[in-house]
């Protein structure tokens, strides 16, 4: 019987193979869709198996090509990476179904959209590679795979707005990758290894100043990717212009890969509380600046991009506290945030489809026009604002307990900041709710014609053809296109339900994340999984 962990490389190889097949089949839409969706489903099943293995056996490593540990490439599956794999692939699958349904509903089978499916699979492969990477350079390669795929997805179609956003995004990402590569070069020069377990042993033997330089280099490189305060300017600038499913998957996954790398840096490579105070200040600024930005926005996508950067602050907060309770809550919070943020972006895509715009000044009446949409927005929005009993509340409760346990004055300031951010998030989503869903469309400043038009027979407006004869409509030549295709609503609902499942199964999940946190704090299970039993505990 082969163990699950020896199949871990398949989590990267399967999507890449699927991407190759999907690219070959670019002229055959139907089979391309089938290949992409089945590949991702298969990957998800494999990763569930990996998670089950990690849950019972703890950290395990697979040595690729059979090379001895510090020299060859190793992939490590522990509780944290397995959980991230499962959550990220589940979210990607939902987004893929949504995007496929959107493409089918719009009938845009030609043009650059044919590269969407292969590129999406490559993005998933890159994310999986980053989560599984057991050495720094493999982590870098994982980042590059997912970033290159994300460049293509972000500029899909090559319109003026997307090219403008793409330029900022690509240049900032490349600079952060360069910083990461410079850090790898310096770390290799200092220790002679890039294997993370080996580094966990050897970095501690360097002198304090060198450690500090290497630590801060990595912090800046990952900080840009995770969009932490002074380095988060690029995110709200570039994400909102992309197509809805692309923004959704970016919001869910890309920054979290940065957070994952930060967690590994802080726990495995540079343990101890050397820069925890700095991280706490940074976390506070990330939370507050992000959420104040969110309140100023009129566009829902931009508002959500700002809440995204703001809530990264919570994860940094948990990491900075450096105790078991906080780290466990961080693991849970990352999973929660991936799911909730993605479902909110998907719902925004649906709002944009149903109402013609995502600008709250032009929206109204949506609760009456489409109650399903209202429910789908309300649940993840309240979840984001951490109203009990949703998972956001549980995650933040864990973080706060960690903060109280630490009990320093700075920790109390952060607790206050975290509560304020939570309330301001509630304000931001409540504004969207009041305007887009609750008020009448006639009360809006410049309501979109799509909201005002009624079906001739008094029934529901379900297709664009209802507004086809509207004098200034931009949907005039769209024909009989569905406003809210069932599969799009269905995949969004599945993701919202997954968010609710985080509350229902909070007990086992918290047990898992605590186990993950304990394992990361101890460090020895990870190091021994890769290098074999160590005599002197580092």
């Amino acid at each position: 019987m082969i163990s699950a962990v020896s199949l871990a490389p398949l989590a990267v190889a399967l999507p890449i193979l699927g991407a190759a097949v999907a690219f070959v089949l670019r002229r055959h839409k139907r089979s391309q869709r089938a290949v992409t969706i089945s590949t991702l489903t298969l990957t998800l099943l494999l990763e569930c198996w990996l998670l089950a293995g990690a849950w019972t056996n703890g950290a395990q490593a697979v040595l690729i090509g059979g090379w001895a540990p510090p020299f060859g490439i190793s992939m490590v599956v522990d509780e944290f990476s397995a959980l991230m794999l499962v959550v990220s692939t589940a979210v990607s699958l939902a987004v893929l179904l949504y995007a496929t349904a959107q493409g089918m509903a719009d009938g845009d089978d030609d043009g650059p959209i044919s590269v969407f499916h292969p590129t999406f699979l490559i993005l998933v492969a890159g994310v999986s590679n980053a989560f599984l990477a057991g050495d720094l350079f493999n982590l870098y390669v994982g980042f590059e795979i997912l970033l290159t795929a994300s460049y293509v997805l972000l500029t899909l179609g090559g319109t003026t707005a997307r090219i403008r956003a793409g330029v900022t995004y690509v240049v900032v990402s490349v600079v952060s990758s360069m910083l990461f590569l410079i850090s790898i070069g310096m770390i290799y020069g200092a220790t002679g290894t890039v294997n993370m377990a080996d580094l966990g042993v050897k970095l501690g033997q360097l002198d304090e100043g060198t450690q500090m330089v290497l630590h801060l280099m990595l912090l800046v490189a990952f900080g840009i990717k995770a969009a932490i305060f002074p380095l988060s300017f690029w995110l709200p600038d570039s994400y909102p212009t992309a197509p809805a499913p692309v923004t959704a998957v970016f919001a869910g996954l890309l920054t979290k890969v940065g957070v994952y790398a930060l967690v590994r840096t802080e726990t495995l490579l540079f343990p101890g509380d050397r820069i925890n105070s700095l991280l706490m200040v940074v976390a506070l600024m990330t939370m507050l600046v992000g959420i104040l930005g969110a309140i100023a926005q009129a566009d829902i996508k931009r508002m959500l991009s700002f809440t995204l950067t703001s809530h990264i602050g919570y994860m940094v907060f948990g990491l900075a506290l450096g105790n078991l309770a906080a780290l466990g809550a961080t693991v849970y919070y990352v999973a929660h945030h991936i799911i909730v943020q993605t479902s909110l972006f998907l719902v925004t895509g649906l709002i944009e489809r149903r109402a013609g715009t995502s600008n709250v000044d032009r929206l109204g009446s949506l609760a009456k026009l489409s109650p399903v949409l209202a429910v789908l927005f309300f649940i993840p929005a309240m979840n984001l604002a951490s109203i009990p009993p949703f998972s956001g509340f549980l995650g933040k409760l864990g973080l706060m307990q960690g903060g109280v346990e630490l009990g320093t004055p700075l920790a109390w300031v952060l607790l206050a900041g975290a509560v304020a951010t939570s309330l301001l998030t509630l304000l931001a989503v409540a504004r969207v709710w009041n305007r887009a869903f609750w008020r009448k469309a006639e009360d809006a400043e410049n309501p979109d014609p799509l909201l005002l038009v009624g079906a001739k027979d008094g029934g529901r407006v379900t297709t664009y053809s209802h507004v086809a004869n509207f004098p200034t409509s931009r949907y005039s030549d769209r024909g009989d296109t569905q406003l809210l295709p069932r599969t799009m609503v269905g995949s969004t609902a599945a993701l919202v339900a997954l968010g609710l499942a985080l509350t229902v199964f909070a007990g086992p999940l918290f047990q898992l994340s605590d186990q993950a946190a304990r394992q990361m704090m101890e460090r020895t299970p990870y190091i021994e999984a890769v290098l074999g039993p160590q005599e002197g505990t580092p």
């Binding site: 390669v141 590059e144 460049y151 690509v170 070069g185 290799y188 100023a296 566009d299 931009r302 009041n434």
Partner: protein, 176 residues
């Protein structure tokens, strides 16, 4: 660890020129800056492997210390390939930007400007509710209707001003 001073100097010059070009507004220069920086990083990786030695092909007669370190070379090879792909993509994007906008520059975000210029007074949330909100307004219906009309007029005026302002702004930009 001993290093080659010439390599360090070349690396420093590459990084300095790269950062300088990266801060320009022209996209082509930004791209050139990125290319220079990535070459600087490749040299850094090479330097991290220590002084050059024999080609790392195994021979039992050679001391292990006499080989040059093969790992940085493998890393550089990967890094070169990645830079190549990213450069190609950036070139395509710059060309696209040139085709659609005839400009080779980093452009400001219009929505950012709009948010920065919006007044912090919000009709929906901040205006005084002039109409009496109580349910017992049998004789004041006319007054309420008048107040509502006044608010609507005010809002129309404000939005007209705002749109005039933004069109001025765009005209200025065109002129520039």
């Amino acid at each position: 660890m001993s290093v080659n001073v010439v390599m360090l100097l070349v690396m420093g010059v590459l990084f300095a020129c790269g950062v300088y070009l990266l801060l320009e507004r022209s996209l082509t220069r930004v791209l050139l800056g990125l290319v220079l920086i990535s070459n600087g990083v490749n040299l850094l990786l090479l330097t991290a492997g220590g002084l050059p030695g024999m080609a790392p092909l195994y021979d039992s007669a050679i001391e292990p210390g006499a080989y040059s370190d093969p790992l940085p070379q493998a890393l550089i090879l990967t890094a070169i390939v990645i830079t190549f792909a990213v450069t190609a993509f950036l070139l395509a994007m710059i060309y696209r930007s040139w085709v659609i906008a005839r400009r080779d520059e980093v452009v400001d975000d219009v929505e950012d400007r709009r948010v920065a210029e919006q007044s912090h007074f919000d009709f929906e949330e901040d205006s005084e509710i002039e109409a009496d909100t109580t349910e017992f307004t049998s004789e004041d219906d006319d007054a309420a209707a008048r107040a509502k009309a006044a608010v609507a007029a005010e809002r129309r005026q404000a939005s007209a001003e705002e749109s005039a302002g933004t069109s001025d702004e765009s005209r200025n930009r065109e002129a520039r």
